[in-house]
């Protein structure tokens, strides 16, 4: 008898190490994969640093970014005299003799704000439209289909316009301000989110578990909201991270085109880039700093977005 229990004990001991799963939802698993991803780490560090700078900017900036007096006379643009990096001004002075480093720090805040607000706007409105359309389709019926057709043709029209052109027209209508930039960039994102969520819901709507819920006798509304919608969110969430990158670039582009904050003394990376353009021959670095800032933050969001896409990929479930 004892050999039998020994045998079972030994088997239990050998198999025990393989027991790994303990009630982790897909989100938890995705987070675990995300934490292991190098891409997510790099993206996260970049974004973390960027957010930190944006928050702490006003406190850590060594000088007032709008101060044109302190180093007055040191920069003479008409004679091509500029001040490069030095101990006092780490990144030198801009064309109006303002501290470039301080301007970069404070500018980060504006850029982040525009990115986040615009994306939130795009996400919310887009997801509402897409979700309504997707739900209408899932619930079925001729009315749902007609609703979807009308909404989607409208969305298609928005998608057909080049995004920057659309943003420029919106900005032109609303006038020149930071809010304009946010709205313009946000509106451009709306059709992307709407299409994406509707597409995901449509795909999920045809899946076996929806059929299973239906055969179980679950009400259609509950199927649409309780099953289809939650399973369609991950591509939208990934897209919102990627959209942040685009939003930052587009916001900079709009500011560059002069559609942003009319108060040009207020630092913003896009505006700084536009202003530096005039002096590109003699002080190219003035354009390089904000450009680098835009590129690196956009890269950070892109990396994180891609890492999330990988982590949430249903094909990786095992």
């Amino acid at each position: 008898m004892s050999t039998k229990t020994d045998k079972i004990d030994r088997l239990a001991e050998l198999t025990a190490s393989r027991e790994t799963t303990t009630g982790n939802s897909l989100w938890v698993e995705a987070m675990r994969r995300l934490r292991r991803s190098k891409m997510a780490l790099i993206g996260g560090v970049i974004i973390g640093a960027f957010v930190l700078l944006a928050i702490l900017g006003p406190w850590i900036a060594p000088y007032d970014p709008t101060d044109t007096h302190t180093w007055r006379g040191e920069v003479l643009t008409n004679q091509n005299i500029f001040v490069g990096p030095r101990a006092e001004n780490w990144l030198g002075l801009d064309h109006l003799a303002r501290d470039e480093f301080s301007r970069m720090l404070i500018g980060a805040r504006q850029t982040l704000l525009v990115g986040i607000v615009a994306t939130l706007l795009g996400f919310t409105v887009g997801a509402l439209i897409g979700g309504a359309s997707g739900a209408a389709l899932t619930l079925g019926g001729a009315a749902g289909k007609r609703f979807d057709t009308v909404v989607m043709r409208f969305i298609d029209m928005m998608l057909a316009l080049p995004s920057l052109l659309l943003a420029v027209s919106i900005a032109a209508v609303l006038g020149q301000s930071l809010t304009t930039v946010m709205i313009a960039v946000g509106v451009v994102q709306v059709p992307i989110f709407a299409r994406l969520l509707r597409g995901a819901m449509l795909a999920q709507g045809g899946s076996d578990y929806v059929l299973a819920a239906q055969s179980l006798g679950v009400r259609k509304r509950r199927i649409a909201l309780g099953h289809v919608l939650p399973n369609s969110l991950s591509p939208v969430i990934v897209q919102s991270t990627l959209s942040l990158a685009t939003a930052i670039i587009e916001a900079a582009a709009l500011s560059y085109l002069g559609l942003g904050n009319p108060d040009a003394s207020e630092p913003e990376w896009g505006v700084m880039l536009a202003q530096a353009q005039g002096y590109f021959d003699s002080a190219p670095m003035l354009a390089v700093y904000p450009a680098l800032g835009i590129i690196i933050t956009a890269l950070g969001f892109t990396l994180l977005g891609e890492a999330m896409r990988e982590a949430l990929d249903p094909k990786l479930r095992s």
Binding site: D6, K7, L11, T15
Partner: protein, 346 residues
């Protein structure tokens, strides 16, 4: 000397961040000229990975391959990419489970076939086209000249698999590896394809390495059968003795799990309990022990070896092999006294 001799093949995948997975844990088998050899097992037994390794189709990153695979005096596992590419198509050919994804969707069938003829047989123009049509005709595709102009999606599943076989045999390979060639097909189409493979082996003398999960397919096709479990061969024998007296409890259990068309309605099945996830490392003992009804303490100490427990040439990796009455009725209805009906539980 066998045409292909695989010796202690090991394949280990090392993923990012996760622990290494040994998909193949020392597999050995031979394929003789003109012989049909089966590698049988369920998902996760390492059969497909083995075939990919032989064809040099595994990615080099994150994969460690050990052991030898001697083909005609050269070790396939250590061949340069260029030599392997020459060998593939001309001497070795492979057929995959999914014919649609194995064919280039934007290139007509004819071009895909003549490409191979050009590459390996130096044929061009009209002769190549004629030969391509001949090949399609050979594998039973009706109206081959018209089919040559068609794209893969215009062909049915069975026709696609035929086209793939035509490409595989275009250069009269000496060894054909077929990885679940009929799994995606309907049973009546499967019968056609298996018949075609049999014909090719009989008439061309091609050796065939058949990789499948379907013991029924093996029973009708293979000369020599290797049953794989958790990356090792657990039983190896000629077709008839293996089916008549499966010696490893896994092979025995597998045969007892399959509903047979010729068994009366309701004849009880004897499932193997648990799943492939219930296993131990080969280093600790027999990987099958947790699912086995007759495991002993001996099974949990050290790797069991392939031996010939009952008859010469019938190998099994088991210290408590299933015993059969030697006069039996030839089926797997032999002596099941030591293997009681298993509980369906996991």
């Amino acid at each position: 000397m066998p045409l292909l001799s695989v010796d202690e093949l090991t394949i280990t995948f090392s993923g990012r961040g996760s622990r290494d997975v040994q998909a193949v844990a020392g597999v050995s088998f031979d394929v003789d000229q003109g012989q049909v050899v089966g590698l049988v097992g369920e998902s996760g037994c390492g059969k497909s990975v083995t075939s990919l390794a032989l064809m040099g189709l595994l990615p080099s990153r994150g994969v460690t391959i050990g052991g030898r695979a001697d083909y005609d005096g050269t070790d396939l596992l250590r061949l340069s990419t260029a030599r392997m590419r020459d060998l593939r198509g001309s001497q070795l050919a492979m057929i995959f489970q999914d014919p649609l994804s194995s064919l280039n969707p934007v290139v007509p069938i004819g071009v895909q076939v003549t490409e191979i003829l050009k590459r390996h047989r130096g044929m061009k123009g009209e002769p190549a086209r004629k030969e391509a049509a001949h090949l399609l005709d050979r594998v039973g595709i009706p109206d081959p000249t018209r089919r040559l102009k068609e794209y893969p999606h215009q062909l049915s599943g069975g026709m696609r698999q035929r086209a793939l076989i035509a490409m595989a045999v275009a250069c009269a390979p000496r060894l054909l590896i077929a990885d679940e060639p009929t799994t995606a097909l309907d049973v009546t189409i499967q019968a056609q394809i298996l018949e075609l493979l049999k014909e090719l082996v009989d008439e061309e003398g091609t050796a065939l390495l058949m990789i499948t999960h379907d013991l029924g397919v093996v029973a009708g096709l293979c000369d020599q059968v290797n049953v794989l479990y958790a990356g090792k061969v657990v039983e190896s024998a000629a077709r008839r003795p293996l089916f008549a007296a499966p010696t490893h409890p896994y092979a025995h259990g597998l045969l007892g799990s399959i509903p047979r068309l010729d068994a009366p309605r309701g004849e009880p099945l004897r499932p193997i309990r648990g799943s492939i996830n219930d296993r131990i490392d080969w280093a600790d003992g027999c990987a099958f022990a947790p699912r086995c009804d007759s495991y002993t303490m001996e099974c949990l100490t050290g790797t069991p070896q392939l031996t010939e427990p009952h008859t010469p040439g019938h190998l099994a990796r088991c210290v408590n092999p299933v015993k059969h009455e030697m006069h039996g009725d030839g089926g797997d209805h032999g002596n099941t006294a030591d293997l009681k009906k298993t509980e369906a539980g996991s």
